[in-house]
Structures are given as structure tokens and as C-alpha cells.
């Protein structure tokens, strides 16, 4: 009787793969990418080291996948922070301004990073394999796309000064990432709130937020 792949075997295989990813992510969370050695991942996920290479062609690919797995959560959180409550449960526009959205995005990004410093540092700045660095570039662009929309909205609403959205969006990504690198390395970053406030202020200045803007169109869709 010839061997065939069935639903069951495939599901099991996918399951093992996921276990490996989750185990690796835990290790990165605790000690950065350097802590996610092949043998450590194997141990953490309860398989033999050789098994890893039945699911990933090499270490770089495993790590790149872990990077995506972890970063996608962050991107999603920021994206959600921008859109959240723009439209409430009754389908009414809550009148969230572009400045509100941008502030929420910055706070979300920064606070998540500061609460999981090791993971954040690993995702943002830890020197890693070029293969993983490639993924970093992609995801920075993903963040930029989110910001771009918000900036365009802000300009359209007259909250922000006219500007090239793409440039500013990329710049915001750089600002956030780079300004967090230092604090993420230090041990006692208990001035979280100060830092977040500084960052939001900085970002709002950068986009040319007109602080006299009074949300003139508030509730215009009601």
C-alpha cells in the first residue's frame, strides 16, 4: 500500500512547525535572536535538533519566519490603533482626528516596545542575519504605509501642513525605531510615560500639526 499524505499527516506537520515558531519566539522574547539557537529551539519545543531541518531549510529561514511571525503582530496592533473607534458600533463616525490616530499609533508602538523590551530590541535593532535584515526592510515599509494614510488624511482635513506623505511616513518609521533603540537597551526605563509623551509631541510637530485645529468637521457624518 503506497504512502499518501492525508489531512491528518499534513495537520500534524503544520502543528510541529508552529510549535517550533512559538518556541523560537519565546526564546527571542527572553534573550533576543542570539538566544534562539537551533539546539535551544529544539529543546524548547521538545523535538530533536535535526527535526528543525525537516521544517525549515536552514536557520536563517527559521529565524526570518520567527521575525515575520512576531512583527506581524506589532504591525497589526499599530494598524488597529489607527482605525479603532473611527466608526462605533452603531456605524457612527466617532470623529477621531488624524492627530488622534497618529497619537494612538505612536503610543501603541512605543508602549508595546517598552513593555517587551527584549523582543522589541530584537525586532528593531539587534544585529541579525542579512536574511532577517531583509525582512526588517519590508516591515518598515509596512509601517510606513500605515502612517502614509493617516498623514494624507490629516493634510486633507487641514490638521497637518501640506507635505510629501511618503517621505514623512518613512521618516516617522525611522524616528520611532531609532529613538527607541537607546531606551530599549537600558535597564530601568521607568520614564516610559515621559518617553511616550516626548515621542508623540515630536511626531505631531514633525507632521506640522496645527494645535489650534479645533476639529471643525467633528461629527460631520452624523
Amino acid at each position: 500500500m503506497p504512502y499518501r499524505e492525508t489531512e491528518h499527516t499534513l495537520a500534524k506537520k503544520a502543528d510541529t512547525r508552529l510549535r517550533l515558531l512559538k518556541a523560537a519566539r519565546r526564546l527571542v522574547q527572553q534573550g533576543g535572536f542570539t538566544a534562539a539557537s537551533a539546539s535551544a529551539v529544539a529543546k524548547e519545543s521538545g523535538v530533536a535538533s535535526g527535526t528543525i531541518y525537516r521544517h525549515f531549510p536552514n536557520k536563517s529561514e527559521l529565524v526570518a519566519e520567527v521575525f515575520r511571525y512576531a512583527t506581524e503582530r506589532e504591525v497589526a496592533a499599530v494598524a488597529q490603533a489607527c482605525d479603532a473607534q473611527t466608526v462605533d458600533s452603531q456605524g457612527l463616525d466617532s470623529g477621531k482626528t488624524a492627530a488622534d490616530k497618529l497619537t494612538a499609533a505612536v503610543e501603541t508602538f512605543a508602549q508595546r516596545a517598552l513593555l517587551g523590551r527584549t523582543l522589541a530590541y530584537a525586532l528593531i535593532a539587534e544585529p541579525v542575519d542579512p536574511r532577517v535584515e531583509q525582512e526588517r526592510l519590508r516591515y518598515r515599509f509596512a509601517y510606513a504605509e500605515i502612517f502614509e494614510d493617516v498623514i494624507a488624511l490629516g493634510i486633507q482635513r487641514g490638521e497637518f501642513v501640506a507635505q510629501n506623505c511618503q517621505i514623512t511616513a518613512a521618516a516617522l518609521v525611522g524616528m520611532l525605531a531609532e529613538s527607541l533603540v537607546g531606551p530599549l537597551k537600558k535597564e530601568h526605563a521607568h520614564e516610559h510615560d515621559d518617553l511616550v509623551r516626548s515621542l508623540t509631541a515630536l511626531v505631531l510637530r514633525a507632521v506640522g500639526f496645527n494645535s489650534s485645529f479645533k476639529n471643525r468637521n467633528k461629527n460631520k457624518n452624523k
Copy 2:
């Protein structure tokens, strides 16, 4: 007669080392770090490939050294742009404002990058060996230190709003680096001037430049 290192042999050795570095830098300039393979470097500098390893312990170290060699120029150019002409040949303060300095720094960084796009991309964003990535982190901090002084000056002079200089300085480094990544990859970036203008405006907004600032202390040291 036992072999001894003489002045002459040492000088020759240093000379070869420098030739290797310069050759590698040329290659990076033309094709990024991927183009600077060991064999290519050997060919370009007219030595046998094995000779490289008499001057550098391994490829990573060679590349890291090239990175430093190239980046130090850039940092120096930016530092000089900040300080230039603050004091003229007669020892008189030319009254350069912090905004002037910051603008000069941004223009210098961006224009140099746009004129040597391949090299700039390699130094700023190309996925590279972790050993080299480590150097990137260092140099980003070097840039930040330059900016920090200028920002502190601007605050002190009342040109910029009060803020945490370290955070802003790091953020500026990130802004510049990240906003150039996209443009540096594209072929026809003939909107150089537009980009540079956008960047300077963005940076001045970020530091909270008070555009009504009239350089009240101009020439106060005359």
C-alpha cells in the same frame, strides 16, 4: 639573520592594507557590499585572494573596516557642516543659528547620499553581516551626538522648543536614514532638491523651530 619587522616592512604592510580598503570601498560604491567579495577585492587591489587574510582575520572584519572607513567620512562631513563658519577667519562669530546648522547638516547628509546612492544605500540599509550591523549602530549614535549638540544649542537660544535632546537627536538620525532608503533604491531620483527641501522642512518642524525667530542675538559677539 633573523627576520625582524623594520619600519620599511611595516609601512609596506600598512600600505597594502590601505590599498585593500580603498579597493573594497570602490567596489561597495559601485555595487554595494555584495559586490565586495573577497575575490573581487583581491582582483581590484591587485593582490592574491589569500593575501587579504594576512591583513584581516576574516571577511567580516574586512567589511566592517570598510564600513568604518566609509562612514567616518560621512560623519565628518556632517559634523563639519554644523560647525563651519560659526567663527570666521578673523575669529568673529558669523552668527550661524542652530537652525542654520541643522539645515546644513541635513542637506549635507542627504545630498551626499543622493550623489552616491549605491554607497549610501550600502551604508544605511543594505542587509549585511551582523558584525557590520553592529558598526551601524555605533555610527548612528555618532550622528546622534552631533545632532544633540545642535538641538541643545537651539533650545538654549530659543530657536527650538524645549525637548529631550537625546530623544530628538536619535529620532533625527532615524528620520534621515529611513526617509532616504526608498529614494536611494530608485533609479531616477532627479527630484533631489524637492527631497532635500522636504527633509529640511520636516526636521525643522520636528525640533519645533520657531519660524518667527529673528536671530535676536545676531552678532552679539562682535
